[in-house]
């Protein structure tokens, strides 16, 4: 009792002294706040966060997993270093993949070009200028086989950033693995398969929400049965954040989308513990360091609560939120690009201290073009330095117990629950997306950020302050100008070589099945085996499902 009152007295004295000092030396701003608008106090003290340790934090590897999903975290094994890569042709990307594996990368992550992501073949009129630009062009099974040539698919786990046509690319991967002699039960990896955030922020949608949700639940149930080591979805906040949301919005909208997928799978008759352990998440690591760490910790606590207490999952694996992180692409500046290495380091550290399962660190030149090999290597080295040299991996959740971080974790959690309420009132995430609610919230936040930068309330080093008069132009990665022509040639040859009658029959079967309610995965796998192209498969589905044209 006495010590408490002594503390109070000393604290008040300190406050008084500080006030006097501030009359002469005011603070830099009147109000400090996080990206989510959470006010930041001058000093955090004991008692900032709720002090029920077991309930709010628990032990790592135990509910509510605030401190991490494994008891030993990085003392046992570092996170998976997974650099997103892909450009040009399958041959070129295969070379980059093998280079990255040689350099010590531990998992693959495929970037597809936009025609592939939107279900067009390379020779489609819509693909003009886009073939092989932001990722690798995949038209048919043969491209997929070249992409993973000499890469053992039973040993490497592969993440594929593919959404609307996820079932087609997964089917190609399964068949390519089988042709290597690896059965589908043994392959591991992730497909992004998160269509809701495409409508909200990323834009590579094809079909309207309802049939898209069916394709997703078809994948859930097919994989639960046949591809048990596959993560069937990576519910992504990354792009929501890139579109300009705050940290709290990123988390709230992502987890709300997560609930929508769980609801859809339950409605399709699946048992929660059959698919929930294969759900994965994907978050952004942005600049405000402590807020990011708090965001990751809050994410685990909220999800485990939802799964255990709202959805009544029994398997602890269903309660655990596992996530991949990528550093924030929109924080990179085109000006003085080497500075981006430092930004990426700080962001990556927040992901590590937030307990990520895998990590992509951006390359310094990504605001300008696709990364050069040298830039991609520095990005990977950044992770290796954090893992092997910094010592931050030697204990579990080193920021746990920080008055500030615990306080922020609670605050972010509160914000997320209040967004949940608003979204529930609209009828859930699918309805909120259809009404454009999340899109508007994000756009408002993005515009506020832009204005703050232009008024120099927010400083971006090298861009609106500390500028150089003469920016040297860095060397950029250039693509093969002939690529599109070569890819179209290859596609024509495949179509000439295949058994056209068989391909037609497979597409007709798929069309019939799409009109009914059967699981479409086996039909798509059959199409892929007989060399139907992604444009043909998605074309059939477009005919039945229609196309989405915006909220």
């Amino acid at each position: 009792m006495t010590s408490q009152s002594t503390f109070q007295k000393e604290y008040e004295q300190w406050l008084e002294k500080t006030k006097q000092l501030m009359e002469r030396f005011p603070e830099r701003r009147e109000l400090f706040h996080t990206s989510s608008g959470i006010p930041i106090e001058r000093l955090y003290l004991p008692g900032t966060a709720a002090d029920t340790y077991q309930e709010n934090l628990g032990f790592p590897g135990e509910y509510p997993y605030t401190r991490g999903i494994q008891p030993t975290m990085y003392r046992a094994r570092h996170w998976t270093m997974r650099q997103y890569a892909g450009f040009g042709s399958a041959e070129e990307t295969n070379k980059r993949f093998r280079y990255l594996l040689e350099q010590g990368q531990t998992g693959l992550s495929v970037a597809f070009d936009l025609p592939t992501q939107i279900g067009y073949d390379s020779d489609d009129a819509m693909a003009k200028g886009e073939v092989g630009k932001v990722g690798v062009a995949i038209d048919s099974l043969e491209d997929m086989e070249i992409l993973f040539d000499q890469i053992p698919l039973d040993k490497v786990s592969t993440s594929m950033t593919i959404n609307a046509p996820a079932s087609v690319l997964l089917a190609m991967y399964i068949v390519a693995a089988e042709k290597q002699g690896v059965p589908k039960e043994k392959i591991s990896g992730t497909i992004q398969n998160d269509i809701l955030k495409e409508y909200i922020a990323r834009g590579t949608y094809i079909f309207p929400p309802k049939p898209s949700m069916r394709l997703i639940t078809d994948i859930f149930s097919y994989c639960a049965e046949h591809v048990p080591k596959w993560n069937t979805i990576s519910i992504s906040g990354y792009h929501i954040r890139e579109a300009g949301s705050t940290a709290a919005q990123e988390l709230a909208f992502t987890l709300a989308n997560g609930k929508a997928y769980v609801d859809a799978a339950l409605e399709a008759g699946m048992d929660i513990d059959k698919f929930a352990p294969r759900l994965a998440f994907f978050f952004n690591a942005h600049n405000q360091f402590f807020e990011e760490v708090a965001k990751f910790r809050a994410a685990r606590r909220i999800w485990s609560h939802l799964m255990k207490n709202v959805y009544h999952a029994k398997n602890p694996k269903s309660w655990q939120l596992r996530f991949h992180t990528q550093t924030g692409g929109s924080t990179l500046t085109a000006q003085q690009p080497d500075n981006n290495i430092v930004r990426v380091t700080v962001q990556a550290l927040s992901a590590v201290l937030g307990g990520t399962q895998s990590l992509h660190t951006n390359s310094r030149d990504e605001a300008l073009a696709l990364p050069t090999e040298e830039s991609a290597r520095i990005a990977l080295r950044t992770q290796q330095i954090l893992a092997h040299e910094s010592g931050v991996t030697d204990t579990v959740d080193p920021l746990g117990g920080s008055y500030y971080v615990e306080g922020l974790t609670d605050k972010i959690e509160e914000e997320v629950y209040s967004y949940f309420e608003e979204i529930e009132d609209m009828g859930g995430a699918v309805q909120a997306v259809e009404q454009g609610y999340m899109q508007e919230e994000i756009q408002r936040a993005a515009y506020e950020t832009q204005k703050a930068i232009e008024k120099q309330e927010d400083i971006v080093v090298g861009m609106n302050a500390f500028k150089l008069d003469d920016e040297p132009q860095p060397k950029l990665h250039r693509l093969d100008k002939e690529l599109s022509r070569k890819q179209i040639e290859k596609l024509t040859q495949i179509k000439d070589r295949r058994d056209q009658n068989r391909a037609n029959a497979r597409l007709a079967d798929l069309k019939y099945a799409a009109g009914g309610s059967e699981n479409l995965m086996p039909y798509i796998i059959d199409c892929v085996k007989d060399h139907c192209t992604i444009g043909e498969i998605c074309g059939v589905l477009r005919g039945i499902f229609g196309e989405y044209t915006g909220a």
Binding site: K128, A369, L479
Partner: protein, 277 residues
């Protein structure tokens, strides 16, 4: 007198990153323009049709997929075919510097790269449209007000109490202007501010000023609009400038100094605040 400028903001190509397009749409609206946004994945033909139908003055293209070299020239070509080449076309997105000369030679008037303040884009469109329509935008040289008076001091800490407690002026805070190697403190006097300048290094211009002439009045800052045009006007009249291009000064304002020899021994600063928008 001023006409309402109509702009079509369009996203050619397949990428779904429309944060930039949405921000620029909002910023142009806030500037007073009418803006129509096409939405994602528009073909060149769709964009040109919309531009003609909506009778716009300008098209802003945003592309982050890398397809700009193929798609932007297609749009220019289609505009010509539609006899709508008087529509001003600008572009932005992830566009490497080395592609810009090609795009500009194809008829894109200007490419704005990441980090460009939206106001700059708005002013560019306004100027281009007015020039096309033969309306002169050039304002005569004008000064709004004395923005502030700069006073060189050896130490802000020592001078602070005189300004704050004796003169009882409102203290607005201290800032370091790294590029000038000075620390500055602002006081508000009502209609003009005082800026105390303390050198942070011996190489600072303020340090050599104090060494030569002691503490005292250092410069007078004149508030102007469109600072780079004002600089040009002075140069046309053979006024020698220390800064021939505006640079960033305290509080993020764009500033440029005149040479004191050209101004009867007074060091004048032109100063434009970034407040609009």
């Amino acid at each position: 007198m001023k006409k309402q400028i109509r702009v079509l903001v369009a996203k050619p190509g397949l990428d779904g990153h429309d944060r930039g397009a949405l921000i620029i749409s909002q910023a142009l609206r806030d500037y007073g323009m009418e803006v129509i946004y096409t939405g994602l994945r528009q073909t060149p033909a769709q964009i040109v049709a919309a531009a003609v139908q909506e009778d716009v003055d300008a098209i802003g293209l945003s592309c982050l997929s890398g397809a700009h070299n193929e798609l932007f020239p297609d749009i220019i070509q289609l505009l010509k075919e539609q006899k709508a080449e008087d529509i001003i076309v600008i572009g932005g997105g992830v566009i490497p510097a080395e592609d810009i000369p090609f795009l500009e030679s194809e008829g894109i008037q200007k490419i704005f790269t990441p980090g460009t303040p939206t106001i700059e884009t708005a002013k560019f469109i306004e100027r281009a449209v007015y020039e096309r329509d033969g309306i002169s935008l050039d304002q005569p040289f004008a000064v709004n007000q004395i923005d502030h008076i700069g006073i060189a001091v050896k130490s802000i800490d020592e001078a602070l109490s005189f300004y704050k407690d004796t003169l009882n002026l409102t203290f607005e805070g201290v800032e370091e202007v790294v590029s000038q190697k000075v620390k500055v403190a602002f006081f508000n006097t009502g209609n003009c501010r005082l800026e105390l300048l303390e050198p942070m290094s011996e190489e600072s211009a303020v340090a050599s000023f104090i060494e030569k002439r002691g503490e005292g009045i250092h410069h007078i800052a004149l508030g102007v609009e469109d600072i780079n045009s004002r600089i040009k006007q002075l140069q046309e009249k053979d006024v020698r400038m220390i800064d021939t291009k505006a640079r960033t000064g305290a509080e993020g304002a764009d500033v440029a100094f005149l040479h004191p020899k050209a101004a009867h021994g007074v060091l004048y600063e032109l100063c434009e605040k970034q407040t609009r928008g």
